[in-house]
Symmetry: C2
């Protein structure tokens, strides 16, 4: 597929109105074509109007029709798997083989949402039948279903250029909910974005849907993003990236005349606790496993375990030595973009200035934007004194926190802000300590992991990729997994309706065969 | 029960730190004792710390224990039914018999939430079992449940002094979710608030729960409310009242270092559409039924139908005449508070200044704070030209909108902001018109009613008392009904946990007998 560099607004290829850019190959520093078009508020308005026009018909697509559309997107993504991985590798420095896996996962995510749509449970169909004989007053028939909130603006992320970008979980879940989508592509991978967007658009066209169901825009600076967040026809926003970027969008959306939800997934240090018995039993294994995981993708992951906490005692020295050896041996690697590289070096420097001691560094970088592996250490007292030590430094650096005992471990755990995940390594002898730590972690994290380092993100029914602020802007939702669709759904009650006017999900004879909550009891009648 | 006028912070009676007030009897203008204590930020801090202390144990109460606690609250409310109704009548001018009904409904709401808690569905227990053999990579065991978001601050409303106040749905749903609650009592009914708060507190004590589960504060001006919204240990806020008041709290909460959700239910004109065939068949009945409903509680209801829309044609004159007759005959009645009365007169004046013509007014008020019944009319063209005509005037005034045809009716429908409810009156011959109107209403309202005027608020599974902004600040939730609990719940995933550390809802042998989603399928195993 030849890249044109256009924006895609509905079925139109839209050329630049506000300049162009070329892609950057961060491994070589070379710029690669074509010229990618930038737009501004005029393109936002055009896409938003189309999305609004598309809403009524798309929101009313049958479950089967919508599921088939999502599956067609999956097929189209599979059809460009290799081409997409190769282009994405050029633009990100990530290995093409890994990106083929990411693209396959992204496709399968659309299939999972197709299954969810077909099953129809997301509608939460609920019926409280009329009770004309009830005293002191009769009850009318009430029926409730969930429908889409309206057109959704999605900001593509830089670090997973497929699965958190154009064809990512935000897009899949919003389309599954019945919401038209406008993507703001990330400029770190414009060609990869165009390929994904064309795959989705071809599925829109070939499914006979309104063209406004999907658009992809691109812009320089903040203007286009601000125009998206401000547009009165946009009803929700998602974002994955820095706390600064996410909060700028969030606060802007709250200042609209009609505030809208912004689900921003922002920052997490994913603390890992090695409890005493586990530390004594396998300190070296823990230190090594932690360091391996921390270094994945040059430390550029939302789920990078950035902080390792353990009580100084049997196994601690072995843990530290194993982590040191692993970090020391990992060569510097190209980071996603020059800005990310520079912020990484500053972040590591900030940790040192806050009193963390450098235990080791990997080999010196050869290329301009390579991130050097680093391992730092600090004691619990110092950690408690400086909240900055608990802040994320995005890149291949981790901090060991050496604690005086379980009491200090619990005190330190209480200081963490909201997290996407936390991990406990434990043996049976640690259960009582774990039971004390658990309520502290529950209040602060969306996911708690036991005895695992490598925790790739599952896309399942029980998946939560979310958590209290600042992990996200709303701890009641997730950005990954089947329930991520809830971000884009709102309930509507139909009271006293004649059957002819009821939506299918609520009709008397249950034509969709849904499992419905009738008078508080689930039934498939 | 003798009123002391204290604030209740946990199990302590706390005297004034910032002045006192006496209650106002709006029917007589007399002030009634005792002196009610005002507090400030120090009392907020004390209550918030207690609530935070209570969180871990209360959030972990067993389902049966929590359900029994909610039922005990219901019993205690029933025990003071008559006393509460009499005191509330003194403070609000509402009839005592009606308030006995409101208190009984409030009690039964706690019982309904007890049933919901006992059944355990609110936990959304979900299990994606381990798949150690899966290729290319194995899956770990993932289990998800919902827990409470943290301590919740609730602002009591003025218009329903029991069911939207201390013992209202916000309190019942938050306590059901496992969230400790801090009430800011409304100063329009301080004695009624104290009676309700004492009933709840006695249930906390007699259930052996941590005292911080419930506190009630009172304050002059905005200081105490602002301190509640700002307090770092408060994790969610609910409010029912004016758009100005709700948005002040909402925007303040978004400016916290860690923004928190504010669910504010604010304003709605609940448009009522009489479609042509229904109008021709029963215009007089429609006009009368509308006016009766509009006048209930002196027009001081979130669900007051404020705007009646119909195409000028057969039945229109009869509809107008019947509405006129009803409004003309309704004497002026005491409103809830002097400020509400003054705002009402200003609101009616504003409608007239926007070009609405006065069709009739009821008898002149005799008392100072009586609201005069009023019916206004405007044509569709004028309505479309002035968005102010679609704004709420809280009190016994309604606006007829005379339309030129269905096209103008649909145009007018599209101009409405978000609503709690909308109503269509229709006959079978109206179905095709209704089908065109329905998607417009779905996007703008939380509830759509067919062929009913009297629509008392049900508290059911399919109940939605919510809607797009400015009806509420988040269209994805409701403030009334069983799903109102969702406002206070957040998901947590437990990954790779040994059974001994799992919460009961997720344990291997399903000790609570919950219906759980296992691998995407509901099962009770």
């Amino acid at each position: 597929m030849a890249l044109t560099g256009d924006m895609l607004i509905g079925s139109s290829n839209v050329p630049a109105s506000a300049g162009t850019m070329r892609a950057l190959n961060p491994a070589t520093g070379e710029h690669i074509g074509p010229e990618f078009a930038f737009g501004g508020p005029a393109e936002v308005d055009r896409a938003a109007r189309l999305a609004d026009e598309a809403f009524d018909s798309y929101n009313r697509t049958g479950l089967e029709e919508r599921a088939a559309f999502l599956e067609l997107i999956a097929d189209r993504l599979d059809g460009i798997n290799q081409e997409l991985a190769e282009r994405t590798a050029l633009e990100t420095g990530l290995p093409a083989a890994q990106l083929q896996g990411e693209a396959a996962t992204a496709a399968s995510q659309f299939r999972q949402f197709a299954d969810l749509v077909r099953e129809g449970r997301f509608r939460d169909a609920t019926i409280d039948p009329a009770q004309p004989e009830r005293h002191p007053r009769p009850r009318m028939d009430h029926r409730m279903q969930k429908i889409a909130i309206g057109p959704v603006a999605i900001f593509g992320a830089s670090n997973f250029p497929i699965s958190y970008s154009i064809a990512g979980g935000d897009t899949a879940s919003a389309l599954a909910a019945g919401a038209p989508v406008i993507l703001k592509a990330h400029n770190a991978h414009p060609g990869a974005s165009e390929l994904q967007a064309r795959a989705i658009r071809s599925a829109v066209v070939d499914s006979g849907l309104h063209e406004g169901v999907f658009s992809m825009l691109r812009g320089a600076g903040n203007e286009i993003g601000e125009a998206l967040v401000d547009h009165p026809l946009i009803k929700a926003v998602t974002f994955t990236g820095s706390e600064r970027g996410g909060m700028a969008l969030y606060r802007r959306a709250q200042l609209r005349p009609d505030p809208i939800p912004v689900f921003a997934e922002m920052t997490s240090v994913n603390p890992t606790f090695i409890l005493p018995a586990a530390l004594a039993a396998r300190g070296a294994e823990a230190g090594d496993g932690f360091a391996v995981r921390m270094l994945v993708n040059v430390g550029q992951m939302c789920l990078k375990p950035a902080i390792l906490l353990a009580v100084d005692g049997p196994g601690y020295a072995e843990m530290r030595d194993a982590a040191k050896a692993r970090v020391n041996a990992m060569g510097a690697r190209t980071m996603l973009a020059p800005g990310i590289h520079d912020a990484y070096d500053q972040g590591a420097q900030r940790l040192r200035e806050s009193g963390a001691e450098t235990l080791t560094e990997g080999p010196e970088p050869q290329g301009s934007w390579e991130g050097r592996s680093r391992l730092l250490e600090v004691d619990g007292e110092r950690f408690l004194a400086d909240p900055g030590l608990a802040e994320e430094a995005f890149g291949p650096v981790a901090l060991l926190v050496r604690l005086t005992g379980m009491a200090q471990l619990l005190d330190v755990a209480r200081t963490f802000r909201g997290q996407l995940s936390a991990t406990m390594h434990l043996d049976e002898a640690d259960h009582s300590d774990a039971a004390r730590l658990l309520p502290i972690l529950e209040r602060r994290t969306g996911r708690i992991v036991v005895n695992a380092f490598s925790v790739p993100q599952e896309v399942g029914h029980a998946t939560i990729h979310g958590g209290p602020f600042p992990a996200t802007t709303d701890s009641r939702f997730t950005s990954v997994g089947m329930t991520s669709i809830d971000r884009f759904l709102r309930p509507v009650t139909y009271q006293g309706f004649p059957d002819a006017l009821l939506p299918d999900a609520l009709a008397a004879d249950n034509p969709l065969g849904l499992r419905r909550l009738v008078d508080g009891h689930l039934t498939q009648d």
